[in-house]
């Protein structure tokens, strides 16, 4: 907010000190003033990101010896992570679950976003708020409510039983990767709807009219105009779901069961029961690298695909 103090600048004179010169330079440079204003936010955020990640990387090259941490640099954790098949298996399962979840959530959210973008004319704001509202409420409680629904004696099983439709509880409902996918899709729907909605809303309606005037029917119009133009939103939505869900450990713990343990559960126990922080750091970094590589490849491939369509 120091941008309008310029009124107080003294007239230039030969005896001007270096301080007022600096000050004049500062006031003339928009970039400098902008960065001054930005600095508290940037410094806090940069510190709160760079410092922890530096420690994270350093820690992954250290080793746990009893209750102490040996700070000699070694690749032992990475060696161990590469050798033990359980880490790879859990990572692949996590990627598989999150990938399925991202695809399904985007598929189911697209028509919803499309409806609000094209067919809601009044009270659009209310619709947008309604679609995103659950997302802001407690993640833990939303996952927990699925445990209440899918449980062995949960709402679905006990409801069907009291209606006389089933004799024994359906076991596939809870404690399976399917339960994780359903729960995650519910929890992250807002992250899919919003980017898709924004990209649909941005489409110039006259392009659709032009397509219609040139003889395209509704399906051709959708496939040739709407869908290609909304792809950036679809890509953003799938990544916004895929990346954070790979690292989820609450959902697998509450509804996943033994077949639903994910890589993040393994990371979490390194900081709890197992108490091997360096191994936890190594696994966290490996997970980030794999997720990062997949995301970059995905973006690159979809850019190519969009270019080909265009």
């Amino acid at each position: 907010m120091s941008d309008t103090v310029s009124i107080a600048v003294r007239p230039a004179g030969p005896g001007r000190s270096w301080r007022s010169r600096l000050r004049a330079l500062y006031l003339r440079s928009e970039a400098l003033r902008g960065y001054t204003l930005l600095s508290p936010t940037l410094v806090v955020m940069a510190f709160a990101m760079v410092a922890p990640f530096t420690i994270l990387v350093a820690m992954s090259f250290w080793t746990q010896t009893g209750f102490d941490i040996d700070t000699t640099l070694t690749l032992r954790n990475y060696q161990e992570a590469a050798d033990a098949p359980v880490y790879r298996a859990l990572l692949i399962r996590s990627l598989w679950i999150s990938g399925t979840c991202a695809v399904l959530t985007v598929l189911f959210s697209y028509p919803m976003a499309y409806y609000v973008a094209f067919h809601v004319h009044r009270r659009k704001l209310v619709w947008i708020i309604l679609m995103t509202l659950p997302f802001w409420t407690s993640y833990l409680l939303r996952v927990f409510s699925w445990k209440v629904i899918l449980g062995y004696n949960g709402a679905i099983n006990s409801g069907l039983k009291s209606l006389g439709l089933i004799e024994q509880p359906l076991e596939f409902l809870l404690y399976s990767p399917t339960a994780i996918v359903i729960t995650l899709a519910h929890a992250w729907a807002a992250f899919a709807i919003l980017p898709i909605y924004v990209s649909l809303e941005k489409i110039d309606r006259s392009l659709l009219e032009a397509a219609a005037d040139l003889g395209d029917g509704p399906v051709a119009r959708f496939l040739r105009v709407t869908l290609p133009l909304s792809l950036p939103g679809v890509i953003a939505a799938s990544l916004l779901i895929f990346i954070p869900t790979v690292g989820d450990y609450i959902t697998p713990t509450l509804v996943g069961g033994p077949d639903g343990i994910m890589i993040a559960n393994l990371i979490q126990v390194q900081f709890g029961r197992v108490n091997d922080w360096p191994m936890g750091a190594t696994l966290a970094i490996l997970m980030m690298i794999v997720v990062g590589l997949i995301s970059v490849t995905y973006i690159w491939l979809s850019r190519k695909a969009i270019e080909r369509i265009a």
Binding site: V5, V44, A48, L56, F144, N153, G159, P244, F271
Partner: protein, 274 residues
């Protein structure tokens, strides 16, 4: 509207789908309040008698009160710090042509896409290497970090929405920087600030993963709930508590989103007037 006749005409199947989708979003959550009034230790159909005893039990629960106070403290502190940082950042990137604007905004928004567990364990390692004991302060640090992107996003939209010349006019008429901010900028961005305060408070209040790694002996409310989930006898009390939290969160978030949306609508109305 010509387009409404053949492109944007009512599509019944799509509308049905939209309502089903909303049901999918809301119905699961409604099971918590439903079973919280059920007079049974077990969460299952058929429902037994109506009762409010789980709510009475919850209100009498002293550790819950302590956890609630902890969450309120952390939430208020997070909301204030994140919003202040958001105001600085949003004003800087919208009011000044600064080189490297894109990477800067990207850096600040990064916590949005990093899995929570990674941020959590990385911060845990940092504070433990620095010898800082885990406390509500470390939880607040984590919460500010994940809340700033949301505060920035709300406030950038708000700052972009209004005319820079109003600030310039105030400065030309002799207001200094602080007066310009208080008399011109602040009233205009106020709905955005309020929305940001409410939303970042809710994020912190409901946040679990950062608090899981960064809290010491004082639990926040979600951590307290997590610790209760292990005891089947405590489940109905958790349902009651969860229902209260859900209702309060819904009201606060609806208020914040409504303020934000209405504020944006009013700005565009004003600017479109001749």
């Amino acid at each position: 509207m010509k387009s409404a006749t053949y492109i944007e005409r009512l599509n019944r199947p799509l509308r049905t789908y939209a309502f089903l989708f909303l049901a999918f979003l809301y119905v699961p959550v409604l099971f918590l309040p439903l079973f919280s009034f059920n007079d049974s230790l077990y969460i299952s159909f058929p429902l037994k008698a109506f009762t409010t005893k789980w709510y009475a039990q919850m209100f009498a629960d002293q550790p819950m009160h302590a956890a609630l106070m902890n969450s309120l403290k952390v939430g208020v502190a997070t909301a204030v710090f994140a919003t202040i940082l958001g105001v600085f950042g949003a004003k800087a990137v919208t009011r000044y042509r600064i080189p490297g604007r894109k990477p800067v905004v990207f850096t600040i928004m990064l916590p949005l896409v990093i899995p929570g567990i990674i941020m959590g364990v990385a911060l845990l390692m940092l504070v433990s290497r620095l010898g800082i004991p885990l406390s509500l302060y470390t939880v607040t640090l984590g919460h500010v970090l994940i809340s700033v992107p949301f505060a920035m996003a709300i406030l950038i939209a708000r700052f972009e929405g209004f005319d820079k010349s109003m600030e310039e006019a105030a400065a030309d008429l002799g207001d200094n920087a602080w007066w310009t901010f208080w008399r011109v900028t602040f009233p205009i961005v106020f709905p955005g600030i309020l929305a940001s305060l409410l939303l970042t408070f809710t994020i912190s209040f409901d946040e679990f993963i950062m608090a899981f790694f960064l809290s010491g002996t004082d639990p926040t409310l979600p951590i307290y709930i997590w610790s209760q989930l292990r005891f089947p006898k405590k489940l109905p009390g958790v349902l009651a508590l969860g229902s209260v939290i859900l209702v309060v969160s819904f009201v606060v978030v609806f208020a914040s989103q409504w303020l934000r949306g209405r504020g944006a609508a009013r700005i565009s109305d004003e600017s479109s007037e001749p």
